[in-house]
């Protein structure tokens, strides 16, 4: 940020109030006063120069804060990394099965080992398979609660996921089906300290972006209009007449447009819901209702500010001048290109004149 400096000198010569005009026998005579008198001769010792003003320039050195980078969503759901589900039946209400639903295909979990603690004092059991394989355990016949814990041992620490079951199984509603998840780091300041993974909690239930966005959209469309190049050729049809009022032209499997009116003054047509008018003097105007930003052309995403992007005003744009020619001499090239053409207008415009279309009356 630069700092500007201005200097002003206020002297009797550049203040009008310093000059008093008196009338001497019909002749106006201008007389200067001393500056020191002027600045202290007002009421209560104030200055007589009540209209003293300065004009100067104020500038701003502006740097772009940059753009907000949308959250890329590159996170792994916590209960995919380490988790299990359990089941039981009313036929065998003391037999519980657990299924290791931890991510089987994550590269960083290749060195992870899993152990199940059934919570009833029995020995911990190594589990090597993943769902749909399961491991079953029979609990003592008693009405009791147990906590099943799946322990994932990693080189960087241990993750425990615990869920509570009740015997005998009676199809009761399972409380807290997500269980609790703790990570115990194997090093660092939090060594041997369990850290909760439960970052989704009841007070944070609405974590979607949409409910947190405003929708102050324009409800009454306004018209966008201007001058453009005629697109009537895109509605040209085979045979005669070339242009038919009210007959839709289909392209790419959808209605492309239609001529709506032909008269002595103009030809009106619609292409992709934009209204065009070709006047007989060669000009074309278009009309299109717009509503500005709407929920249909805005995608709400969480945004963050990356410091590295300060003063970077846009995302990197990759622009390549390389054109890959698929082979001029390919026997199928024209056939392939023709396959990309839906109508006569397309053919005229295709590839900036790739096809040599002769206009014959």
């Amino acid at each position: 940020m630069s700092q500007d400096y201005y200097k002003f000198i206020i002297s009797p010569e550049n203040v009008e109030a310093d000059l008093t005009v008196v009338d001497y026998r019909g002749v106006p005579v201008g007389v200067y006063s001393g500056m020191s008198q002027l600045v202290s001769s007002g009421p209560r010792g104030t200055s007589l120069l009540t209209g003293l003003t300065l004009t100067f320039l104020i500038t701003q050195t502006a740097y772009d804060v940059g753009y907000y980078s949308p959250f890329d969503g590159a996170v792994l759901q916590k209960d995919v990394v380490t988790n299990f589900i359990f089941s039981s039946t009313t036929e065998n209400p003391y037999v519980y099965n657990i299924y290791n639903t931890s991510s089987e295909f994550q590269k960083f979990l290749e060195l992870s080992a899993y152990v199940v603690d059934w919570g009833d004092g029995s020995a911990k059991q190594v589990i090597t398979g993943y769902t749909p394989n399961s491991l079953s355990h029979t609990y003592p016949t008693a009405s009791k609660q147990y906590t099943i814990t799946l322990q994932q041992t990693n080189p960087w620490g241990i993750t425990n996921v615990s869920k509570t079951i009740t015997t005998p199984y009676t199809k009761v509603v399972i409380n807290n089906p997500n269980g609790e998840c703790f990570f115990t780091p194997s090093g660092g300041n939090w060594l041997q300290t369990p850290v909760s993974y439960d970052y989704i909690f009841s007070g944070d239930a609405v974590n979607l972006v949409e409910p947190q966005t405003s929708k102050n959209y324009v409800t009454v469309p306004y018209t966008i209009s201007g001058i453009t190049k005629s697109r009537i050729q895109e509605l040209k049809q085979y045979g005669e007449p070339k242009f038919q009022v009210g007959v839709p032209v289909v392209a790419n499997g959808q209605i492309w447009g239609a001529v709506t009116d032909i008269n002595d003054v103009y030809t009106a047509y619609t292409i992709t819901e934009i209204n065009y008018y070709d006047y007989n003097d060669g000009t074309t105007i278009f009309f299109e209702p717009s509503s500005g930003f709407t929920e249909y052309n805005l995608t709400a995403v969480p945004i963050t500010k990356e410091e590295v992007l300060l003063r970077v005003i846009d995302q990197p744009q990759i622009q390549s001048d390389v054109f890959v020619e698929r082979g001029k001499n390919s026997a199928y090239e024209r056939v392939q290109r023709l396959g990309e053409v839906d109508n006569l207008g397309d053919m005229i415009n295709y590839g900036y004149g790739f096809f040599n279309v002769e206009n014959k009356a």
Binding site: M1, Q3, D4, Y5, Y6, K7, F8, I9, I10, S11, E13, N14, L19, V22, Y24, V27, V29, G30, V31, Y32, S33, G34, M35, Q37, V39, S40, G42, G45, T46, S47, L49, L52, T53, L54, T55, F56, L57, I58, T59, Q60, T61, A62, V65, Y68, F71, N189, S196, D198, Y199, F201, G203, D204, Q212, S214, P302, T304, K305, E306, E307, L310
Partner: protein, 302 residues
């Protein structure tokens, strides 16, 4: 290779309400212990120029940009001397209510400000994205300012707290989430707030709860104006040297005129002799306010 360049200096269109004017007055250059340091009311003294029919734009409504006019109040500018005016962005003094993270994006850190702790005249700035680009400076507990240290606001939105339980303790960890609509809390993300990649646990300092902070806009570059109120300047010398002059032989009144033949100064010229009529002194004595208007240039030369 750059595809283009853009300038970063623009004429400021800052509102006077976002400006603070500090005045320092000293009667002479070498008097340093008798200075007067005070503030002037920018809202009444500083006026932006507006477009008129000659400059284009909406006459009287659209600010011209860059050009401002400052009135020097007669109450303060009442003596000869040196006045230094320091125009700086208005400072909003408030306190950090909390430092936290967003619940949905825990890596996004920021400070939370209770708008009720903001001076009333500045509360209109505390709206979504209203503080982007503002600078945050910090005070020590003893009231001194942390020097050479500031953060820049990169976003601000209304927020509300959400609470999660921490394991093995009854301590609650508050996180924040954005809310639409009015709220009394606003979440400011600052830059820098991310740790360097070579030391991920070195989180940049962004403040702490209950810390006093100063938030100021960056709408314009601070400037200083030095105003010399002087008895004479170089024009005075030009008048004395090159202006018209008359000397009345009858009464010895010596008059100096400016370029428009206004009476600039008037003097009595006389001699002092001893009892033997020997000339001792030739005297030129200012007549002050006792101006003889009959000595106006028009009367004499017509």
């Amino acid at each position: 290779m750059a595809i283009g360049s853009y300038g970063t200096i623009r004429p400021s269109d800052v509102s006077p309400e976002d400006v603070e004017i500090i005045m320092n007055y000293t009667p002479t250059r070498d008097v340093t212990d008798a200075f007067v340091l005070t503030t002037l009311d920018a809202q009444t003294l500083l006026k932006p120029y507006f477009n008129n029919t000659e400059t284009g734009g909406n006459s009287g409504v659209e600010v011209l940009g860059g050009l401002y006019n400052l009135t020097l109040p007669a109450e303060q500018f009442n003596a000869l001397g040196i006045y230094t005016l320091y125009l700086r962005p208005a400072q909003i003094r408030t306190v950090i209510t909390d430092c936290g993270v967003l619940s949905a994006l825990p890596n996004v850190k920021g400070i939370v400000i209770d708008i009720n702790n903001v001076p009333t005249q500045f509360q209109n700035k505390f709206v979504p994205q209203g503080l982007v680009g503002f600078r945050v400076e910090y005070l020590n507990p003893d009231g001194s300012k942390i020097p050479n240290f500031f953060r820049v606001v990169t976003s601000c939105f209304f927020c509300e707290p959400v609470v999660t339980n921490q394991v093995n303790t009854t301590q609650k960890a508050i996180r924040y989430r954005y809310v639409d609509g009015d709220a009394n809390l606003i979440f400011l993300t600052l830059s820098p707030s991310s740790s360097p990649t070579n030391k991920p646990n070195a989180t940049p300092y962004i403040g702490q709860p209950d810390q006093d902070i100063i938030i100021s806009n960056t709408f314009f570059n601070p400037i200083t104006l030095e105003i010399d109120m002087v008895e004479y300047d170089i024009s005075s010398l030009a008048i004395a040297l090159y202006g018209n002059q008359t000397k009345s032989m009858d009464d010895g009144i010596y008059t100096i005129y400016d370029s428009a033949n206004n009476i600039y100064r008037q003097y009595n010229l006389y001699e002092i002799r001893d009892q033997f009529n020997a000339l001792l002194y030739e005297v030129r004595q200012s007549r002050g306010n006792n101006i003889d208007f009959s000595k106006n240039f028009t009367n004499i030369t017509s």
